[in-house]
């Protein structure tokens, strides 16, 4: 299900939070209501961790991660790194990387299997992404924009990209990523998709300016309507149910 919320009157929730299938990071500051909305939705399923990165609150745009790992920029302090390692599940590898392009959230869009990377990313970084996150990395652009992490929101079930992406690009990306893609907007026409929303396999959080149309597109492309947090039920559905009468 998709929820609408805002961070201190600001509808760019993808900037102040990072949501994956194994954990959720939320920025410090902002009213308690921001944090508690995440808590109510995600409560017992995954840990919700309050943090800052490099002393800033724009954590969603600085880090990139999936259920296997989390990549943080070199600006992350040792205390923050330790706090993340302590609070996140043991299966999640937290790695600080030395990369000139430190806004990793803007440069990398990833789900649990595949990642899109900024074209100017270092070779070492690309290898680290493949190792830590356990994904296949593709250097791509989206509608001519090299900041793939900003203009694309990606999960294992679907993806939403910049509204001006051409049909050919959509098809090409869809084949690469092996998920259905849709070109759309969030927050009443904002093109910066990943800044305006954050999403995982069963839930999404969008800025409060998001219109009902945008919300329904999001719910349909990410298949959130019938989504359940339990992975077992989904994966084993076919073997559990013999036939529908």
């Amino acid at each position: 299900m998709a929820t609408r919320l805002q961070f201190e009157n600001n509808c760019e929730v993808g900037v102040f939070s990072k949501l994956t299938n194994a954990y959720c990071l939320v920025a410090i500051g902002g009213s308690e209501s921001f944090y508690s909305i995440f808590e109510t939705e995600l409560a017992d399923v995954i840990p919700v961790v309050k943090t800052s990165i490099g002393g800033t609150r724009i954590i969603g745009r600085l880090c990139a991660g999936n259920k296997n790992g989390l990549l943080v920029p070199h600006t992350t302090t040792d205390q923050e790194l330790q706090h993340l390692r302590n609070s996140l599940p043991d299966s999640v590898v937290v790695q600080r990387i030395e990369e000139r392009l430190s806004a990793l959230g803007n440069c990398i869009a990833c789900n649990d299997h595949v990642a899109l990377a900024h074209t100017d990313l270092d070779r070492e970084t690309e290898e680290l992404i493949a190792d830590v996150l356990g994904v296949e990395v593709f250097r791509q652009t989206i509608a001519g924009n090299i900041l793939v992490g900003s203009y694309c929101a990606l999960t294992n079930r679907g993806g939403l990209v910049h509204p001006h992406t051409s049909i050919e690009d959509l098809d090409e990306l869809s084949t690469l990523l092996q998920v259905p893609l849709v070109a759309g907007t969030v927050n009443r026409g904002s093109e910066v998709i990943a800044a305006g929303m954050t999403v995982n396999d069963w839930t999404a959080f969008c800025g409060s300016d998001t219109t009902a149309t945008e919300l329904s597109v999001i719910e349909s492309v990410f298949k959130l309507r019938e989504a359940q947090p339990s992975a077992i039920v989904d994966k084993m559905r076919k073997s559990l149910i013999d036939s529908y009468v």
Partner: protein, 336 residues
């Protein structure tokens, strides 16, 4: 009866359109030099007929400013033609950015408030660049009737509950920050019984908007208010623009006085209050009453300002008739 309403368009050659801090400071310097240069050029035109001395002086000055302004003007001075437009739904994001800190860092239905501003196309102006396809908004000015957003009966109350929460939140915020008890009573009256006669004046703009735009901008607003009184299709709408009181919420810098200690730089020459918007000083002088309250939000200011000045918000109300600076408003109240 819809007459041809002529929009007072003022095309002014104005300075930069860029937004980085460097460009902003370059802009301030450049506009200061350009204005000085124009003044000197005018003086030169006048005085060249008269004294040869004057001409020489003028030329020397121009040379000075020439060399200085050349350095500045080569670095990012852009010619721009500004134009005034009616508010449109497309202006949502621009207006929202400008109105972001209207109520300090209070969490309220800001989007709803912006929607109300954009709905009112007859009174209200947005300042954009001359060519239609640029969406960058530089200023928004409007006057909203507080009474219009109040429910008159229970059904409307239920219907308006969702839409106009923003006006209620705004009124509650103003009541909560006002610490002067005599004014609180007056404010309560303004927000309830006399809400129909109160206009909330919203005027927000980018910091480096050329000041030459301001007189036409405010003229436009008050002209539109007086036209609306005559031209609006329904009686109710016409009456809703007969403002008896304007309410303004704005930001000023107040001099911090450390207890007992005298600042070395401070003192008598320093202004006790610095107005972010120049017209606020005039409004403040002419207002019937005002109060100030401290703002919680951290603003980006020069280091000198943060040390010495405390940022305050000021709310003031002004009875239209007492405001000679706004001739159309005076005319309105006289008609009654």
């Amino acid at each position: 009866m819809t007459p041809n309403v002529k929009r007072p368009r003022r095309k002014l050659v104005a300075r930069p359109v860029t937004f980085s801090p460097f460009a902003r400071s370059a802009a301030h310097l450049a506009s200061a030099y350009m204005i000085k240069r124009q003044m000197i050029e005018n003086k030169l035109h006048e005085s060249c007929q008269h004294t040869p001395n004057g001409k020489c002086c003028g030329q020397r000055n121009i040379d000075e400013t020439d060399s200085d302004s050349d350095e500045e003007s080569s670095e990012g001075v852009v010619q721009a033609d500004f134009a005034f437009f009616d508010p449109k739904p497309d202006d949502f994001h621009g207006v929202k950015t400008l109105v972001q800190t209207f109520l300090d860092n209070e969490e309220w239905n800001l989007s709803g408030f912006v929607d109300l501003i954009l709905e009112q196309t007859t009174v209200g102006t947005v300042v954009k660049l001359e060519d239609e396809d640029d969406d960058g908004l530089f200023s928004v000015v409007t006057a909203l009737n507080l009474g219009r957003y109040k429910a008159s009966d229970i059904y409307m109350q239920l219907a308006l509950e969702l839409d106009h929460k923003c006006m209620k939140e705004l009124e509650e915020y103003i009541l909560s920050v006002c610490h002067e008890s005599n004014l609180v009573e007056q404010l309560r009256l303004l927000f309830s019984k006399r809400a129909r006669d109160v206009g909330l004046l919203v005027s927000q703009r980018v910091v480096n908007l050329p000041p030459q735009l301001l007189p036409p901008l405010y003229d436009a607003l008050f002209d539109e208010v007086s036209w609306a009184v005559e031209d609006e299709p329904t009686e109710e709408l016409r009456n809703s623009f007969r403002f008896k009181t304007y309410l303004i919420v704005t930001k000023i810098y107040k001099h911090k006085k450390a207890n007992g200690k005298l600042e070395k730089k401070a003192d008598n020459e320093e202004e006790p209050v610095i107005y972010v918007k120049a017209e606020d000083e005039l409004f403040h002088e002419l207002s019937s009453w005002s109060f100030s309250f401290p703002l919680k939000i951290q603003h980006v200011t020069s280091s000198e300002a943060t040390e010495e000045l405390r940022i305050n918000g000021v709310g003031y109300g002004s009875r239209s008739r007492q405001n000679p600076h706004i001739p159309t408003a005076v005319a309105l109240s006289d008609r009654r």
